[in-house]
Amino acid sequence: MAKLRKEFDSIFLIPAIIFVIIAELVPVFYTTYLGFMKWDIINPPKFVGISNYIKVFTRPELLNALKNTLYWVVGTLIFAVGFALLIAVLLSKIKGKIIFKSIFFIPSTLSPTVAAIIWRRTLSSQQGALPSLLSLFGAHIQPILTNTHINTFVMIGVWTWQFFGINLILFLVGLETIPQEPIEAAMIDGANQRQTFLYITVPLLRPIMLLVIANSLINTIRMFDIPWVMIQGGPGRASETLAISLYRESFLLFKMGLGSAIAVVISILTLLASYRYIMILGERRG
């Protein structure tokens, strides 16, 4: 009887398990399986070994996507994370923090799709806000988004515009919880501002840093919305990220096998990048 009651408890878990099995666990195995297949949806899948993976790392357009994804990861770490930390430290020293904090937070309330639409309009060479403003002063600039040398970096700027505010607030939360005593003690011992920042503030900020960095990595390795809405990974396939390649190969060119292999690569990169963070989240407790 007691045993029966114990098993009855798992009824509470069953809905969650069913949803996760359908929406996540089975798909993970299925995608992994498809990664070894050649499949156009119409004809039956054919086993092709690791040739999809070889394509991911040899085809010029996919290597380019890998390179762009790397730019996204590094670029957002520098700007959306590093720069946010710097500004958070500056903000913590002045009055009127709340005003700036609110201004920087506004774009975070918009969706990436909307942010991309706004910036596409702002930068557009046909009646765009920025070129029109500059033309009032007699300056004319070249089209920005179709310039393959800079467009990925411009879009990293758009992402920074959007998520800088959240990161900034998280860093400010972290800075507020740091006790002042060790900093004062270090100052008395003759440490300068840079030293106290590097050796005391940064280590004490570690939990927040880990969170912000992991979030940034997780979100940029799978970057899709901004480069897709702004320029569809173009011109041509020049600014494609891995997530856009996945979409294009699977749902526009119907190469489900190759698309799945790209999905697996995105997953492995994400797992490698967020391994420590995941271990902390999954920790046994209670």
Binding site: D9, S111, W161
Partner: protein, 278 residues
């Protein structure tokens, strides 16, 4: 003196940044106060005569909502986002409650089994979900999208509920048991009302995530598109609409998340920092 210069410099940097941050938002306002014709004829920074503005705003709104069908997609997204927010919170609260306060063997393993869904980027689920929904006849249906959104939201929701459940003392539930309350009763009468903060965090996160979704909508729907997917289609070479209508559509599509985040910013930030606490 040196400190004053330093402070002034900081203010100058912050003010310049603030201008950059606000510039695109202001420039969008310039767009929506014009009619499509005025947008093409006037210089970008030229504002139309004031008497035209209310009429232009109303026309743009009307065209975006009705003709471009942003209204229909807005309603779709409301349905998806509420279903995902409330559905995932409810299912995760049952699971979180049972993992912490009921007798489930190896609760840690069960937690990881569900939480693993949060570890993979959702690109890993796209192709199979597209195939499953097609096979089940749920492609391009609200039901299909709701199942997907709820499923994707559950792992994080469980993470929040489980963390929260640990903060509730076991004694309350033991006492309820002694008083003869069933498990369902302690869930409904004690756990549910007490876990309101967890609900707020889960709801905000999942509502926003679902509202902002572009990719699942792109792949799994045509007629029942969520609003972001519909919006992204409005600016294409094919099916593109006048800029004034597109930007009005973007404004309409932003209202729910802007309102939610500005009013509940604290809970939102709290949701992030949850993961740094032990």
């Amino acid at each position: 003196m040196n400190r004053d210069i330093q402070k002034t410099l900081i203010y100058i940097i912050l003010i310049i940044l603030s201008i950059v941050w606000i510039f695109p938002l202001i420039s969008m306002l310039i767009i929506i106060v014009k009619s499509p014709e005025e947008f093409n004829q006037l210089h970008y920074w030229q504002i139309p005569s004031l008497s035209h503005i209310p009429r232009n705003l109303i026309t743009n709104f009307h065209l975006a909502w009705k003709k471009s069908q942003i209204g229909k997609n807005f309603i779709n997204s409301l349905i998806y986002a509420f279903s995902a927010g409330i559905g995932s919170a409810f299912i995760a609260s049952l699971a979180g409650f049972s993992l912490v306060h009921l007798n489930i063997k190896k609760p840690h393993i069960w937690f990881l089994g569900i939480f693993i869904g949060n570890i993979f980027p959702f690109q890993m689920f796209l192709i199979p979900l597209y195939i499953f929904l097609n096979k089940l006849g749920l492609y391009d249906t609200r039901t299909g999208l709701i199942i997907v959104y709820v499923g994707i939201c559950i792992p994080f929701a469980l993470f929040v509920y489980r963390n929260y459940a640990y903060t509730l003392p076991k004694e309350i539930f033991d006492a309820a048991k002694v008083d003869g309350a069933s498990k369902w009763k302690s869930y409904a009468k004690i756990f549910m009302p007490m876990s309101k903060p967890a609900f707020t965090v889960v709801f905000i996160f999942q509502f926003i995530w679902t509202w902002n979704d572009l990719l699942f909508g792109l792949i799994l729907s045509e007629r029942y598109r969520p609003v972001m997917t519909a919006l992204s289609k409005l600016q294409g070479a094919r099916g593109g609409v006048p800029v004034t209508i597109l930007i009005m559509g973007a404004l309409i599509a932003s209202v729910p998340t802007v309102v939610l985040l500005l009013s509940l910013q604290k809970s939102f930030i709290r949701g992030f920092t949850l993961t740094t606490e032990k």
